[in-house]
Amino acid sequence: MERTCDCCPNPAVVHETVVHSGIQTEVHLCAEHAEQRGYILPSATGPALIVGKLLQQVQSAAARPANACASCGTTMATVRETGLVGCPLCYRHFEDALGAVISRAQAGASVHVGRHPAHAADLVDRAAMRNRLARELREAVSREEYERAAKLRDRLHAIGGSPSDAFASADADDATRVEGGSAE
């Protein structure tokens, strides 16, 4: 399956694994975001040779505590101390821990409903699709339709979802509602 950019739905052309103190962090970026973040791409087609920013990142990572956000170096300890997150990618890096914090602060709500940026229309559609498949999977399992469940599970995998999503939260259906119109 083609890996998408960490920042947008475009296909990633930069794939990097940074290992520090035994912690592996993956970075996947499209050409545009790679350039924005200081990666230098030799050509549009050739393999991504990465210099510059990445070297800086690895060097500064040496001074970073284990399990910091690969992009900005923030740790969950810092988030707890300051009440602030370091960068958008922290939300990916600390998805579970932040998910718990957010849900507590938001009276149990865990899924966004409302406007979204035009560039995220795809993400929102995929999230909606994942949630629909997850709901159907849940129903199939509860009716003991295992053959159907297996098919749904495969489709869920194919779009980047996990069967555990189906049982993670009873109100996962809410994610299929994207109201308030798009940003356009």
């Binding site: 602030l84 997150v85 370091g86 939300y91 938001q106 409903v113 409302g114 940026p117 308030g180």
Partner: protein, 380 residues
């Protein structure tokens, strides 16, 4: 976009480095007489929805750019980069008819405070030292703070209860910005913000309520409990602690995830704000029916003090103006328009007094004298 229009405030001024003995004309006087009237500060109350009990409505959206650390984690050069990107973007909606960019980092303290007193920037934005700026629409109903806690804080203001029209204009502005900037977004968490409790819509809907009758009847605690039950945040006149509430009471949402912007705006417009307005109106009726003479005494005693005093502290000014506002809203005082009282509530603040003097922030005694003079002249 031409760079000449970006920094209207003369640049040789360093953030803090002005000798206080050196008088200067406030550059923000350049905003001219458009200040005030367009926002309805000077208009009467009858044509403003719920103007008798609601001072103003406000909507704020938090947005951040993809590819940058949040403000708390960004370098100075990243912050400058964010400023330039936003300034290069066409602002839509209320900014179509004119926009003024103010380089807040390079602005004198008195002018930063003036923007704060006019609800165009936040208290932390006044005091920060990093690169930041604010776009202000010429009619002063909209502002975009760049590099507050989030990269962008869009804000719109209107007198009375006007959240639905505000929301419509806010969505237009958001869409216009979305065409030129890439906002950080997560399919589950929604718009990503520096503070994890603001994610989702990133919206803050609020109304500044004027509840003098509930205060007189000592019912404010009940109001506060009701607000808490509705998951609302409650604040005083300028967002200060709840102990300094006085008669002004700002309610705003705390939940930003799991409900659409429109849903929230509808709930504030149709149910939450009308509920507080009804409480207050019932309390006003009760005061009139039970003991009109005593109510009149409080109202006209306040008016008498404002018309006669020579030294007036800020908290006193707000207290007495609040009582006069009540008298005007109930028709007990007929020769003072509600809009004038609303305007005075802004103009009695320290930076406004300094601006009227054309100089620096004054000391307490100067301010008390200037405040008393201003009000006496206005209410003559």
């Amino acid at each position: 976009m031409s760079t000449s229009g970006r920094e209207p405030i003369d640049d040789e001024r360093t953030p803090e480095g002005r000798g206080s003995q050196q008088p200067h004309a406030s550059p923000l006087i350049g905003f001219g007489d458009a200040w005030g009237d367009a926002r309805g500060d000077a208009r009467g109350g009858s044509e403003i929805p719920c103007g008798d009990c609601v001072l103003s409505s406000r909507i704020r959206l938090a947005r951040n750019l993809v590819g940058f650390s949040f403000v708390n984690r960004a370098t100075q050069s990243q912050l400058s980069d964010v400023v330039h990107r936003v300034q290069a973007t066409r602002l839509g909606g209320p900014f179509e008819s004119g926009v003024r960019w103010v380089n807040v980092q390079a602005t004198a303290p008195v002018d930063r405070l003036l923007l704060f007193e006019r609800n165009l920037i936040s208290r932390p934005f006044v005091e920060a030292t990093h690169p930041r700026c604010v776009a202000i629409s010429t009619d002063e109903t909209a502002s975009v703070m760049v590099n507050e806690e989030d990269h962008l804080r869009l804000q719109m203001l209107a007198p009375g209860l006007q959240l639905r029209p505000l929301a419509e204009r806010m969505f237009a502005l958001d869409s216009a910005l979305d065409r030129g900037l890439e906002f950080a977004f997560h399919p589950r968490f929604g718009y990503l913000t520096a503070c994890p409790t603001n994610v989702g819509t990133g919206i803050r809907v609020s109304a500044m309520l004027h509840l003098p009758a509930l205060h007189m009847l000592e019912e404010l605690e009940k109001v506060q409990r009701a607000a808490k039950d509705l998951h609302l945040a409650v604040r005083g006149f300028h967002g200060e602690g709840t102990d300094a509430l006085g008669d002004f009471f700002q309610v705003s949402n705390q939940t930003t995830l799991g409900r659409s912007e429109q849903d929230l705006v509808d709930e504030f417009t149709d149910s939450i704000v009308p509920r507080f307005v009804e409480y207050e109106r019932a309390a006003r009726r009760a005061l009139c029916e039970r003991d009109l003479a005593s109510l009149d005494d409080r109202v006209f005693r306040a008016l008498g003090i404002l018309r006669a005093c020579r030294l007036l502290a800020l908290d006193e000014a707000i207290k007495f103006l609040s009582r006069v506002r009540l008298g005007v809203a109930l028709g007990r005082i007929s020769d003072i328009p509600l809009g004038l009282v609303n305007r005075l509530l802004l103009e009695v603040q320290p930076a406004h007094l300094a601006r009227a003097r054309g100089g620096e922030l004054g000391n307490g005694r100067d301010d008390r004298a200037a405040r008393a003079d201003l009000i006496r002249a206005a209410l003559r």
